[in-house]
């Protein structure tokens, strides 16, 4: 099984159990780099796939919570290399697939070949790159694919039908269905027409569809779960970490 296939497999497995796949997101090294691995371990106990945010100076698709976590992490010295090193130090320990969420520039600075290799070496199975539309993704996709690492595509309510098909076809791991037109961390609730939107995404996708942006509660997950295989919980989890609360407890009540 290729690394990216383990992602889809994990979501499918949850589905098979009658659950909605749970994909927690948190910013690496936030609020304290020293806590990174413990946090990761705790989250991995509950989640089906874990999404680790690589901090970036200019997180233009993110709301205040993730921006804040990004800046703090950078200030405290978190880098892509550091994250890989940390993962390497507990290699084999995390049993669920790891996905990196990163803006393009830190990946570019790291180098795509090196990136794919280190990902493979440290159990990172896929990448989500929020400022990389499919059209610009050729080089990195090529490098990742060489190692079986997936580049997860995002679709949004604004994505036209034709393009939706393209992105569904080209995604790996899962298809990321952004629930809202907006940035991460919104708390204005999920949109009214969510069901229709997710159904239409699921319809064209052979991969499991995970919904993300604005999912904060068990109720949200129930709603999303009726129309998508998985749910990504980001800002809500980062807020929990920010308050020093136990992520596992928070996640467990979502599951």
């Amino acid at each position: 099984m290729q690394p990216h296939e383990s992602i889809s497999a994990a979501i499918e497995a949850a589905k098979a159990e009658g659950r909605t796949g749970l994909v927690p997101f948190f910013t690496a090294g936030y609020p304290e780099p020293a806590e990174f691995l413990n946090t990761l371990r705790a989250i991995a106990e509950v989640g089906d796939v874990v999404e680790i945010g690589v901090p970036f100076s200019d997180p233009m698709a993110d709301g205040m919570t993730i921006q804040r976590s990004s800046f703090v992490a950078i200030q405290k010295g978190v880098t892509l290399k550091w994250i890989f090193d940390q993962l390497e130090s507990i290699k084999g320990e995390i049993k669920i697939p790891i996905v990196f969420m990163s803006y393009l520039n830190p990946l570019l600075a790291f180098g795509f070949e090196a990136l794919a290799q280190r990902a493979l070496d440290t159990g990172v199975c896929g990448f989500i790159v929020p400022d990389l539309p499919f059209e610009e993704s050729g080089e990195i996709r090529h490098a990742l694919e060489q190692k079986g690492i997936g580049l997860i595509q995002l679709v949004t309510p604004a994505t036209p039908a034709e393009r939706l098909k393209l992105l569904a076809r080209e995604s790996r791991g899962f298809l990321y269905a952004v629930t809202i037109t907006g940035i991460t961390g919104g708390d204005s609730g999920l949109p009214a027409d969510l069901a229709g939107y997710l159904d239409s995404v699921s319809e064209v996708s052979t991969l499991p569809v995970c919904a993300g942006f604005g999912i904060r509660s068990a109720e949200d997950i129930v709603n999303v779960g009726k129309h998508a295989a998985g749910a990504i919980v980001g800002s809500a989890l980062v807020e929990v970490l920010e308050q020093g609360a136990d992520p596992a407890i928070f996640l467990r009540q979502l599951r």
């Binding site: 970036f56 100076s57 200019d58 997180p59 233009m60 698709a61 993110d62 709301g63 205040m64 921006q67 800046f71 950078i74 880098t79 892509l80 290399k81 803006y103 393009l104 520039n105 830190p106 990946l107 570019l108 600075a109 790291f110 929020p130 400022d131 990389l132 539309p133 059209e135 610009e136 080089e139 595509q153 995002l154 679709v155 949004t156 604004a158 994505t159 036209p160 393009r163 992105l167 952004v178 037109t181 907006g182 940035i183």
Partner: protein, 417 residues
């Protein structure tokens, strides 16, 4: 993604540039450019690109745009000789007077062009970012002129140092939204504007203020600003009797520079862009992106940026808000790579001195951004006496009063000296 060109590749790209064949269909200037934006915005960018293709060079749009440039912006702007400055420098200096354009800088050429486009594309409202406030004022004015509501994102650091422009935006009916995140200057303002745009990609038109960002902005802004160089070129022929030996423009994002240079690319004119040298060479002490940056993706395009080894974008410093930016337009990155334009820097102090010298000799209070171009031109003229120099006087310095009054006059000699 590469940034260093083979000799034959460079030669081919240089030719393509000069022939006006760039950007290519994918918004590339050689390796630079492109479109790196959140998926939510992809359809919006496609619509914008369609709109640009359909309208920008259509006779109807051009008629409307040219009329606004002429009747409302006040174009053509003057070309001034600068006899007393020329005497001091031992050279022959000509100034392209964008400071005389409505609202006081070249920014209005782009703002009114895009506002007209926004109107045609059926936008409900316009958002913009601003650094020096000139683009914010220009956008506010242009939106009022076409009848669209306008919100301007501006970093709180810039709000302080360009206070007069904040008041002007308010007066012109725009909403000014203070940006507290990131570096609290232009870069943060662009990020915030993008975030807002993502929330309503169909209703919002994002009026970007420089030749940066994702395709088609660098192209669109260049086309709208190229009126500067087209006019200046003809005016030089008419008034000076020949083209200049060299042309200078300051470079923040690069819109006034590309606006001037574009029409001169094919000519035997040396072109020099001037970045903010700030207080020194160290990372964070300047905004000398082309001089010291490395290739990367920032805010929608692949170009040179000021970043550390981890790809984190660095904060910059410049006394001039409009040059205080870690990125630069992709076309400049290519113009440098192929050797058609040289990019140099001028420090904060040099800019302040140049600003004073121009005041004293020609009675023109230029913008701090623009002052960098003068500083570099002065240096150059000392090594090349007797040449004919064209400088893009991109804006006026009224907005810089709060900053200028903080710095004591450095070279105060009497106006009559």
């Amino acid at each position: 993604m590469k940034s260093i060109l083979e000799a034959n590749e460079a030669a081919a790209l240089r030719k393509a540039l000069i022939n006006g064949e760039l950007p290519d269909e994918r918004g590339r200037f050689g390796p630079f450019g492109g479109r790196y934006v959140p998926e939510t915005l992809v359809p919006a960018f496609e619509r914008l690109e369609e709109g640009v293709k359909k309208h920008l060079h259509s006779p109807e749009f051009q008629a409307e745009f040219q009329q606004e440039l002429r009747e409302w912006v006040g174009r053509p702007t003057a070309l001034s000789r600068a006899p007393r400055l020329s005497e001091r420098w031992g050279t022959e200096v000509w100034l392209k007077r964008e400071d005389l354009a409505h609202t006081g800088a070249h920014k209005i050429n782009n703002a009114i062009g895009q506002a007209l486009l926004a109107k045609r594309l059926g936008a409900e409202r316009v958002i913009a970012e601003t650094g020096a406030g000139q683009h914010g004022v220009a956008s506010a004015a242009a939106c009022a002129r076409v009848g669209l509501p306008c919100s301007v994102y501006m970093g709180v650091v810039d709000i302080e140092r360009q206070a007069p422009n904040v008041d002007r935006m308010h007066r012109l009916g725009a909403e000014v939204l203070p940006v507290e995140t990131g570096d609290k200057t232009l870069r943060a303002a662009i990020n915030e504007a993008m975030r807002e745009w993502v929330s309503d990609p169909a209703g919002i038109y994002y009026l970007l203020g420089s030749a940066v960002g994702a395709h088609p902005y660098p192209y669109l802004v260049r086309e709208l600003q190229s009126v500067i160089g087209t006019e200046a070129r003809q005016q030089m022929l008419d008034l000076a009797g020949s083209l200049p030996d060299v042309a200078f423009a300051c470079v923040g994002g690069g819109s006034n520079a590309i606006g001037l240079f574009y029409a001169l690319l094919a000519d035997d004119v040396e072109l020099i862009g001037v970045e903010a040298g700030g207080t020194g060479d160290g990372l964070g002490q300047n905004a000398a992106t082309l001089a010291t940056g490395t290739a990367g993706v920032l805010q929608g395009c692949y170009s040179l940026i000021l970043q550390n080894d981890d790809g984190q974008v660095q904060e910059t410093h410049s006394i001039s808000a409009g040059l205080d930016y870690s990125g630069v337009g992709p076309e400049h990155a290519l113009l440098q790579a192929v050797g058609r334009v040289t990019y140099v820097t001028a420090s904060d102090d040099e800019a302040l001195e140049a600003l004073e010298e121009l005041c004293e000799t020609e009675g023109i209070l230029t913008a701090l951004e623009t002052a960098h171009a003068y500083a570099a031109a002065k240096r150059w003229s000392q090594e090349h006496p007797g040449k004919r120099i064209l400088i893009c006087n991109s804006g006026r310095g009224d907005k810089d009063m709060p900053t200028l009054t903080k710095y004591a006059a450095r070279t105060r000699t009497h106006a009559a000296a």
